[in-house]
């Protein structure tokens, strides 16, 4: 298995302070990493750094050549403005292919076929002509993941993906993310507040509090002090 992203002693931050310091971790092909931590612990900063929107202020961040070519699929937090946006699902999904297009002005047939196959994989093909704002939260989420898959097939970065979904949609969401990860070997990096589920789903956990409090397998995380604290009473009962 080859490594997609390697961070060694990386700092990320803004002009006056570093939000993430001395981070060492790696994301391998087909990995499933969940980043947890309190609000303001630097999770969103880390996401920006991995996407290349923020230059590391220290240490070294290496991105595999493979990934540089195809890019990273990204699922941002939903904004309020998007919820009533007049766009068809096809338009939204297709916009993911923008980065593949380079300097051409219009989408090619392959890119359109790719959008169709991404919708197929997420089971929203029949919604292609529907208006994005008329979909349920879970369906909107799928459309955005299909868009991310159009942008990149090897690595998805999900930022707080389950916020605002109802419980059934959350379970569905974890289901198809797991499928993408296991069957199609898409590496997943997920930032989440939903720690209990995240620990159950992910292979690796990164617990951030500016510095790294824990980095290792999900199983080991459950045994640590931070893990037990973060998971709360649920673990203590067992």
């Amino acid at each position: 298995m080859s490594t997609l992203i390697t961070c060694s002693h990386v700092d990320f931050g803004y002009e006056d302070h570093d939000a993430v310091t001395d981070l060492t971790m790696e994301v391998e092909e087909g990995d499933y990493l969940c980043v947890v931590g309190a609000n303001g612990a630097g999770k969103s900063t880390l996401v920006k750094g991995l996407l290349g929107l923020l230059r590391p202020t220290g240490g070294s961040l290496e991105v595999a050549d493979d990934l540089k070519r195809t890019g990273i699929g990204y699922l941002p937090q939903q904004t309020a403005a998007q919820k009533d946006f007049p766009a068809s699902v096809r338009e939204v999904v297709l916009s993911g292919a923008l980065s593949r297009r380079g300097r051409r002005f219009f989408y090619s047939r392959e890119e359109k076929a790719m959008a169709d196959s991404a919708m197929e994989r997420l089971g929203i093909r029949q919604l292609a002509g529907r208006c994005y704002r008329e979909l349920s939260g879970g369906q909107q989420q799928r459309a955005l993941i299909a868009r991310a898959l159009c942008a990149a097939g090897k690595l998805l970065i999900l930022d707080e993906p389950v916020t605002g979904l109802d419980p059934q949609a959350i379970q569905d969401f974890y289901g198809f993310i797991r499928r993408l990860n296991r069957e199609e070997k898409v590496a997943i990096v997920m930032v989440s507040h939903d720690v209990a589920n995240a620990v159950g789903q992910a292979r690796k956990i990164l617990h951030l509090q500016q510095k790294t409090l824990f980095y290792g397998s999900a199983r080991d995380y459950k045994e640590t002090r931070q893990g037990r604290e973060f998971l709360g009473g649920e673990e203590a009962d067992k």
């Binding site: 996407l51 290349g52 929107l53 890019g71 990273i72 990204y74 941002p76 904004t79 403005a81 998007q82 946006f85 007049p86 766009a87 068809s88 338009e91 939204v92 297709l94 916009s95 993911g96 923008l98 980065s99 297009r101 002005f105 219009f106 989408y107 529907r130 208006c131 008329e134 868009r147 991310a148 942008a151």
Partner: protein
């Protein structure tokens, strides 16, 4: 009546200039309204009023002064909206009132409140000079080129800035281009439509179309069409009933908004019946 209207050269200029301005305002408006930047249009029209009045009071070229000032204001408003340091709606209201006040004070100190000021406030059909029409043509060429060739990027930036940024679209550049084009549209349009009403050309067509159409492409097409049709209807009404041009166009836009709203309601009702 139409032949009669077209026999006046100033009316022909007003029609050509107005149609081009309406089209630009409507296309840019789709992106601005969806990004929740509608207030920027309103703020810029007031800045434009202030700049124009000061330029006239001081005897400078009106467009030569106000276009750069408004473009600068557009950058500035975009910046405070993006950085989120200050409440942007409050900041825009503050800038609007200040530039309005500056314009009024400058005018009353020199010439007094003349017809010039009133026509900047409420618009004048006589405002389009042949030079203005040429500027309008240049502006609309720029806007159309942007929308034809960068349509997909505009969609991406409007729908989701952070995703667009992550896939390597230069989001900043697009925001700046849209802000600059909006600024020029407003300066050119406000002489005819009036500072109080020019922002309606930006906001109405997009809101009208969003009620009925469900894809971005359809909303863009419909906004352009609605803007041009409403402008022509407003101008015809203004000619027929001798009402001010700007206000008549805004009322036509309001009419279209209500009609589209009713159409959307009826469609929903019919769909309900169908489903039963």
């Amino acid at each position: 009546m139409i032949a009669e209207m077209l026999s006046y050269p100033f009316l022909v200029r007003a029609l050509i200039g107005g149609i081009l301005i309406s089209l630009c305002a409507a296309l840019l408006g789709v992106s601005l309204v969806l990004k929740r930047y509608s207030m920027i249009g309103d703020g810029l029209s007031h800045v434009s009023f202030g700049a124009l009045s000061i330029a006239v009071a001081a005897g400078w070229a009106p467009l030569g002064v106000s276009i750069p000032v408004v473009v600068f204001a557009a950058f500035f408003l975009l910046r405070i909206t993006e950085s989120g340091k200050m409440k942007s709606d409050a900041a825009i209201a503050m800038i609007s009132a200040s530039s309005l006040a500056a314009g009024i004070v400058a005018t009353s100190l020199t010439t007094g409140m003349t017809t010039d000021v009133s026509s900047y406030m409420f618009g004048s059909i006589l405002a389009m000079s042949p030079g203005d029409v040429r500027l309008c043509a240049g502006l609309s060429a720029a806007v159309l080129i942007l929308f034809v060739f960068c349509y997909d990027r505009i969609f991406a930036v409007t729908f989701d800035e952070s995703f667009a940024k992550a896939t390597g679209v230069n989001v900043r550049a697009y925001n700046v281009v849209i802000a600059v084009l909006t600024a020029v549209t407003i300066v050119l349009g406000m002489q005819m439509m009036g500072a109080m009403m020019i922002s309606s050309l930006i906001i109405f067509p997009a809101l009208t179309s969003m009620q009925v159409f469900k894809s971005f492409r359809a909303v863009v097409w419909s906004s352009g069409a609605v803007a041009v049709v409403c402008f022509c209807v407003g101008m015809a009404a203004s000619y027929r009933f001798s009402t001010p041009a700007g206000a008549s166009v805004v009322l036509a836009d309001l009419g279209a908004f209500l009609a589209f709203g009713a159409a959307a309601k009826i469609r929903l009702r019919l769909k309900g019946l169908w489903d039963q």
